[in-house]
């Protein structure tokens, strides 16, 4: 058997090797048998499989999550839960319909409860309902404990339901490097390749994955495997070397201090992470909060998450700032019931701050939670996709109103610094017109809008290059403006964590970069190797040579 090589697009770097688990497509649907006896058997089998999944999940989690799973297990193992469904099946209703209806009735009972503790249990029932439905549909909700996963596409909720603590990789036939799952994969250091095309089932077998180049080798030859293993060994040695300076502050060889911040896409990423590796959190993507089953997260929930992040950042007594970006929905991150459906060009549509200002009722809840969390430490608020100065002014007005309302109600609150993401060329070019407390360059979108090329369109992805001189000049312009005003300028896109790009960003005048936690070690090693004196000397030398000619 000879090896097969496939080429996709890189969505998250890293090397991985091992057997592939192919996830069934979510679109799989069930054919009812029409026979009540077989339908009842199907439901019984699905209940049993779902219970086994929950039990396995409970075994490897601890704390609150284990309690929650234990509760779900108690419900699913109780015959009373499916009684109504089995009755309906006996009356000729297909198993999936019967189960959905029975559970919806149960869920409605919880949703109508007066006590909020009981209302909150509706989510557990919904989880149980969907897990069993997935089993009935033949799409096992069973998550592989670790390993290399192949699928057509992967929703963020499914990624979060998997255990990545033992590593693994993601191979997608479709997908996009700018998707939420890709961000999650990068932040966890999980290699990911998208756009492999075809049926994900053809990836079954032993594979080698190179997340950085987007290459997959199926059933590799012994020579290919040896070459791969030696590369992996080199990578590990390099990583170990970089890790030795992980908790030291970063400065260039000539002594210019560079602040290294981290990007967080999901609060659990902070578990087991030492705040000493960074100078703060440069970007918190709050979209993860809005992934829940339909309902928008309430103020208390948001407050507790923001507060936890702020408290993590100062947990060792150092005052590190946490920059929380307000909801950045739209574009490739739709939220049902909030963002526009079927926009002809979502990347130029209602996204980022445009969504928030269109839905002030949702925005105000987030602002209140942020104002309250700001009491617990240095919190900063960042607005995404700002295009005109009026958007900051409108946001500041809403924030002041909510601040006054919280004050009047006697609720502790503090007005945080309000900054903007610089990702629309209109803002980057006319940056002097924007009265923001800080600027953070969103290099992914800024690059895509400047070059008019999307990274997830294979034929033009090479153009979406953050090293394009036009992009670097824009970075330089924003950095200079910030320096003149004494306002911090950071960069929080993927470019901020790329060793190949960081020296150019520093040369352009940036002194703060933000990146995925897994990129910090390599980024700090890169920064320490940069010598701005030498860069300046080379430039001066070039000028002298030119002048002498």
């Amino acid at each position: 058997m000879s090896e097969v090589r496939l080429q996709g697009h890189s969505a998250s770097p890293g090397l991985a090797a091992g057997p592939v688990v192919v996830l069934a497509a979510r679109t799989a649907s069930r054919q009812a048998t029409g026979d009540p006896v077989r339908e009842a058997e199907a439901l019984r089998a699905a209940l049993k499989a779902a219970a086994a999944d929950i039990a396995a999940l409970a075994e490897r989690t601890g704390g609150e999550a284990a309690d929650m799973l234990g509760f779900q297990l108690a419900l699913i193992e109780d015959d009373a839960l499916a009684e109504g469904a089995f009755d309906a099946i006996g009356a000729g209703i297909p198993a999936d319909h019967a189960w959905r209806e029975a559970l919806n009735a149960e869920i409605a009972g919880y949703e109508a409860a007066e006590d909020e503790y009981f209302r909150a249990r509706a989510a557990d029932l919904t989880d149980v309902r969907d897990r069993v439905l997935a089993e009935l549909n033949g799409e096992s909700a069973h998550a592989p404990t670790s390993g290399i996963v192949a699928a057509h596409d992967l929703p963020p909720s499914r990624f979060l339901g998997m255990d990545w603590s033992q590593g693994g990789a993601i191979l997608l036939a479709a997908g996009s490097p700018t998707s939420h799952v890709a961000m999650l994969a990068r932040s966890r250091g999980i290699p990911m390749i998208v756009g492999l095309g075809g049926d994900p089932a053809r990836l079954a077998g032993e594979v080698l994955v190179d997340g950085a180049t987007g290459a997959v080798v199926i059933d590799p030859s012994p020579e290919t495997r040896r070459a791969f293993e030696s590369r992996r060994g080199e990578d590990e040695v390099r990583a170990a070397a970089a890790a030795t300076g992980l908790k030291e502050k970063a400065a260039t060889a000539d002594g210019t201090a560079i602040a290294v911040l981290i990007n967080i896409a999901e609060p659990d990423e902070l578990d087991g992470l030492d705040p000493a590796i960074c100078d703060g959190i440069g970007l918190v993507r709050t979209e993860f909060l809005f992934h829940g089953a339909g309902a928008l997260p309430d103020e208390e929930h948001q407050y507790s998450v923001y507060r936890r992040m702020v408290e993590w950042a100062v947990s060792d007594g150092v005052q590190r700032a946490v920059t929380i970006r307000t909801l950045d929905a739209g574009g490739d991150k739709p939220i049902a019931g909030l963002t526009e459906d079927g926009e002809s060009n979502p990347f130029l549509g209602v996204r980022g701050i445009r969504v928030s200002l269109k839905h002030p009722e949702v925005f105000r809840v987030q602002l209140r939670a942020l104002l309250r969390a700001a009491v617990h430490g240095p919190l900063k608020v960042m607005l995404p996709m700002v295009t005109v100065p009026e958007e900051i002014e409108a946001s500041r007005r809403l924030m002041s109103e909510e601040f006054a309302a919280l004050n009047a109600a006697g609720v502790a609150a503090r007005q945080p610094a309000l900054g903007i993401m610089v990702e629309v060329p209109a803002a980057a070019i006319a940056i002097d017109m924007f009265d923001a407390d800080f600027f953070s360059i969103g290099s992914n979108d800024l690059t895509q809008y400047i070059t008019a090329a999307a990274r997830d369109i294979g034929n033009v992805a090479y153009l979406a290059d953050p090293l394009n001189p036009a992009v670097l000049r824009m970075v330089e312009r924003v950095a200079a403006r910030g320096a003149a005003l004494g306002r911090e300028v950071s960069l929080c896109g993927d470019a901020g964590g790329e060793p190949a790009i960081i020296p150019h960003l520093i040369a352009a005048g940036l002194r703060t970069v933000s990146m995925a936690p897994v990129q910090v070690a390599a980024a700090k090693a890169t920064i320490r190797a940069v010598d701005l004196r030498r860069a300046a000397a080379v430039e001066a030398g070039a000028v002298c040579q030119d002048a002498g000619k």
């Binding site: 309690d67 509760f71 108690a74 109780d78 009373a80 409860a113 007066e114 503790y117 009981f118």
Partner: protein, 112 residues
Amino acid sequence: MSDAQVPGVKVSGAAELTNAVGLHARPSVKLTQLAKSFGAAIEVGLSADGPWVDAKSPVKIMRVKAAKGATLYFRAQGADAGKAVAALVDLVERRFDEEEAEAAGEGSGGAA
């Protein structure tokens, strides 16, 4: 409790729910697990006259949605009915052994 050993005898008891979240997820699981450890048929109700639900079914227990301050009535029938009722009453009176954790963890319990 001497009659507890006699098969077929009916025993009843009652206790007030004083833990902050009432017969919530964790307490209800504890209660049904304890009930299942006895052979007797055990039922729970919010009044001395019922309606009664099976104390071994977490789904039915949760449907009762018993909040803090409610009184739980138990009745049991079987060889170990007396022991069962005594143990269940004791569990409720001990606040399911978890009041401290709740008060500290939820921040909205009686400690606030």
